[in-house]
């Protein structure tokens, strides 16, 4: 049964080599932009992503739902989620286009459900988790348990330099967020957001080891 479907999927994708190569470089660029959004909150990278995805999402949603206004709402919500959830994208688990597609699919599901049933229960993330459940499992307690372990140190070392400083200062040198801001010469808000980003990332990575 699995075989039939796989072969029909393959025959559906008539990708000559040149296009496949183009897609690879394109995927790489998209993945880099997503990571720049995640790690540096880069608005420039987000603008690239927006220009690539937003018109396509608009077209896909408009043809699927036959409604331009609803399609615009899907664009807005999807791109907002890309901005807020980019750190959940894991290039080892799939392509950036598939990830954005799943964000769009979830947003559309919740929007349509709101229209059809007047329910604002936003169930999509329960049905299609953007992070695998095994990763989410006990992420918190694992983080506590493993805090001093080698594994965590290895993960911390993969963080962007500026997040690494904040995490090490906060957890290992026991500096307060205010002290860190002063020490590094950056605003308190920046310390807080770097710490938040770093923790989200660590939780995801450490959860993923299990």
């Amino acid at each position: 049964m699995g075989q039939t479907v796989t072969s029909s999927l393959q025959s559906g994708a008539k990708a000559p080599k040149t296009i496949a190569m183009k897609e690879n470089t394109e995927h790489q660029a998209l993945a880099d932009w997503l990571q720049a959004v995640a790690n540096e909150r880069s608005k420039a990278a987000f603008t690239h992503l927006f220009k690539f995805f937003a018109p396509k999402i608009q077209r896909i949603a408009a043809s699927k739902y036959g409604n331009e206004t609803l399609a615009s709402e899907v664009v807005q919500e999807t791109m907002s989620n890309v901005w807020r959830k980019a750190h959940l994208f894991n290039p080892d688990k799939g392509s950036p286009t598939t990830w954005v597609y799943t964000v769009m699919r979830n947003v559309s599901f919740d929007l349509l459900r709101k229209i059809k049933t007047k329910k604002e229960d936003n169930l999509s993330d329960d049905f299609w988790p953007l992070v695998e459940s095994s990763e989410a499992e006990d992420a918190d307690s694992q983080f506590q348990d493993h805090l001093a372990s080698k594994e965590v140190m290895r993960c911390i070392d993969t963080l962007p330099e500026e997040q690494k400083c904040v995490v090490k200062g906060f957890y290992f040198m026991e500096m307060s967020q205010e002290q860190l801001a002063q020490h590094l010469g950056i605003p308190l808000g920046t310390v807080k957001s770097r710490l938040r980003l770093a923790l989200a990332k660590l939780k995801q990575q450490i959860g993923g080891e299990k």
Partner: protein, 227 residues
């Protein structure tokens, strides 16, 4: 070993977000328990993403023109500024395992059901049922517990009836079912599930027509109680 799976059509619709919440929940729960269907859903999702995003961009020149046309007269910079104005990020939801206790037995709810509103449990004999409030009209979802030695009287449905076994086992004249089994029956089938060890099921049915006709309701009170 899971022997009953959703159809390919259902898996594809699930991947596209096209199933109602009652059924999407069932496929989601099944996929958590069945790596084969999970992989199939991932393949459909990828296929959809490819044809939606990459398919368009492969025709580079015409697509670029279209891309600009789509937002003609809209200030993209304003949209982008509005979205990036916040520095908030969404932390992945913490694991919030939810358990329910029915007739003294505790179950861990599948993730897909953790944020749903459920009615109080009502019971007849060895059956207990709670409605899952999803507001999808004639398509209704419930949790059904059969206690050890209990059974569902023989019944038939005009529409479809989906039973997803969450815990325990039951059997009918077609076989023995265990956790993860995704059993869909239409009006052609009748069955009489019996559970020796007891079980908990998630059920979905679209039987409004059947039960609104008074005489059938009188003839089949168990059906309207259960599904």
């Amino acid at each position: 070993m899971i022997s009953c799976h959703p159809t390919q059509e259902m898996l594809e619709k699930f991947a596209n977000g096209e199933l109602p919440a009652t059924l999407a929940a069932a496929v989601s729960i099944h996929a958590e328990m069945c790596s084969e269907c999970k992989a199939q859903i991932a393949a459909y999702t990828e296929q959809q993403a490819e044809s939606g995003f990459n398919g368009v961009s492969s025709h580079a020149s015409s697509a670029n023109v279209n891309d600009e046309d789509v937002f003609a007269g809209i200030d993209i910079d304003d949209l982008i500024a509005a979205i990036t104005a916040t520095d908030e990020i969404d932390i992945a939801l913490e694991d919030k395992e939810k358990t329910i206790t029915v007739k003294g037995k505790e179950y861990v709810l599948p993730r897909a059901l953790t944020n749903m509103t459920m009615s109080n449990w009502s019971s007849i004999g060895k059956l207990a049922r709670s409605r899952v409030e999803l507001g999808e009209g004639e398509i209704r979802a419930s949790l059904l517990q059969i206690q050890p030695g209990g059974s569902v009287p023989e019944h038939t449905h005009k529409g479809f009836e989906l039973t997803l076994l969450l815990d325990g086992s039951f059997e009918d004249d077609m076989g023995v079912y265990g956790p993860g089994d995704f059993i869909v029956l239409d009006g052609k089938h009748t069955h009489n599930p019996v559970s020796h060890e007891g079980c908990l099921c998630y059920t979905v049915s679209n039987d409004a027509q059947h039960f609104t006709q008074g005489i059938n309701k009188l003839l089949n009170p168990f059906g309207s109680f259960i599904y």
